[in-house]
Amino acid sequence: MIQHKHIGSLLALQVRELIRNTSYFIFVIIFPFIMAGMFLFLSHLMKGEPGSPDFSPFVLPMAIFLAVTGTALTITAGPLAELRQSGALRVLSTTPIRKSDFLVSYLLVRLIMATVQIIVIEGIAVFLDLLSLKETGSVFLVSLLGLSMFLALGYIIGGCLSSSQLATNLGTLVQLLSLFMSGLAIPFAILPDWLTNILKWIPSTLFGNLIFWASGKPQQQVGATISFCITLAVTVVLVFLAIRSFKWDVE
């Protein structure tokens, strides 16, 4: 547990460092809404066109997916590598603060930020009639599972790489690749079967699958139970790897 006397100042430091890094912070905050808005607009434009795909079921899952991955990858991996690159972690290790306290506070702030984002997105989805109120709980819980999985992945990237630029770029690449392979941005219905059969087993796709399931959308490719079990197992493995692989200092 975090030492009580440090928690306030640590969390305040982490919040300030996060929100004052405006270029990343604002992008991660607004990107899910921009993409969701585009999909809503497309959906509105194509409404009534015979044979055109319906994008509306994708709006909520994609927005949540982008919020979760943006926070877990873009603003976790790069800044974490930056802390090592700048020597901040090294200097902190000579102070009375425990390393674990610092890292827990680092992740806690991001966890809270993504949680707030998910709640706001759900609220807007309910308002726009894209989600029913009774489904908000399960969507929230499923989102937390995905957030844990991606936070562990962001932590691995930021915990191993010593270049913040490289870590940020890799985080963004993983985010975009996993988005496009998850069936949330490109509907699986327009992909060949052989490709769908491969992509549907990727953990990020299974996470998207769970959001579809929790929000009552018919686009899920794999059963909810098996999606949940695999996602949970991958999360546990990634958390283990994140803890084992983290480098505090550059030799």
């Binding site: 440090h6 100042s9 300030r16 460092e17 802390l83 901040a88 200097v91 000579t94 102070t95 009375p96």
Partner: protein, 304 residues
């Protein structure tokens, strides 16, 4: 318990692409409690590695380290409350303001100093709301020293603290360090500024190629290892042979150019008296023995 730090037979080896490098080679030294202790040596001598081992950032390959008679690896939490390191890194937490940074650092310690007092010591009182990223190099250096002092350490480790400071800021820093030393804080600083070491440090250890080759007060080292005062003067070239011959009674003179001669001697008065009687000699110049001389004598090579 008399010593703040005791290092015995320290060895530190690094794996590098070109093979094993020995950064510390059987280094032994003791730092007494209280006062300002200087680790003196050129770049690459092993000063930073020594400091990093003292604060527990690196493990020695062999040898023992005792800080206030404790093992820094086993009693790390006790030591971290009492031993501080001045970060050399220039911009840790760049989004923080100076005041926020000092407050955060002070919150980590049980009995911190007042933030405003440290800010005033470091000449940062007008910069408390400025972001760390916007500070100049010297301002960042002053902040880093302030961070090392704010936890009221028993032992403050400062890695080249006056690097990047202008003369006034350096003098202010020296005043603060002297004040803290008088209060009982042990200050260990690494420096390659020999003047700083002589003026500021109560005791120094000369580090060369990973070894402590000598330890003592600057004056002791100068007396013991620097060979006398260097007297240089101009002499009429026609009279040079005679003067050189007679000067050999005091030491071995060196011809700097066709009319400039220097001699290193412990018997300054006699040499000056001798030269004063010679109308062919002019433009006396005396160089007092220095730490630089002592360093060259101790190591057999130039400081830098």
């Amino acid at each position: 318990m008399n010593n703040a730090i005791e290092l015995k037979n320290l060895v530190k080896k690094y794996e590098t692409p070109s093979g094993l490098v020995k950064a510390l080679d059987d280094l032994t030294l003791a730092v007494p409690q209280g006062g300002i202790f200087g680790l003196l040596g050129p770049n690459g001598a092993g000063k930073s590695t020594t400091l990093e081992i003292i604060v527990g950032l690196r493990k020695a390959s062999a040898g023992t380290v005792r800080i206030f008679d404790r093992d820094p690896q086993r009693d790390s939490q006790w030591i971290r409350q009492r031993v501080s390191l001045q970060p050399q890194e220039s911009t840790i937490f760049p989004q923080e303001q100076v005041g926020e940074m000092l407050s955060f650092w002070s919150s980590l310690y049980d009995q911190p100093r007042d933030v405003n007092q440290v800010a005033t010591w470091m000449g940062l009182e007008d910069l408390l709301t400025r972001k760390v990223a916007k500070l100049s190099g010297g301002q960042k250096q002053r902040l880093n020293v302030g961070l090392a002092l704010i936890g009221r350490p028993k032992l403050a480790i400062l890695d080249e603290p006056s690097t990047g400071l202008d003369v006034m800021a350096r003098d202010d820093l020296w005043k603060v360090l002297r004040l803290l030393a008088e209060e009982g804080t042990t200050i260990v600083l690494s420096t390659h500024d020999l003047d700083e070491a002589r003026v500021l440090c109560h005791e120094v250890a000369v580090i060369d190629r990973g070894r402590a080759v000598a330890q003592g007060s600057p004056e002791e080292l100068i007396q013991k290892y620097a060979n006398g005062t260097v007297i240089s003067f101009r002499v009429n070239p026609d009279a040079m042979p005679d003067v050189l011959t007679e000067l050999r009674a005091f030491g071995e003179p060196e011809i700097e150019d066709e009319s400039m001669v220097s001699i290193r001697t412990d018997d300054t008065d006699s040499v000056i008296a001798f030269l004063s009687r010679r109308p062919t000699v002019s433009q006396f110049h005396m160089n007092e023995p220095s730490l630089h001389d002592a360093f060259i004598r101790l190591t057999g090579h130039e400081f830098e």
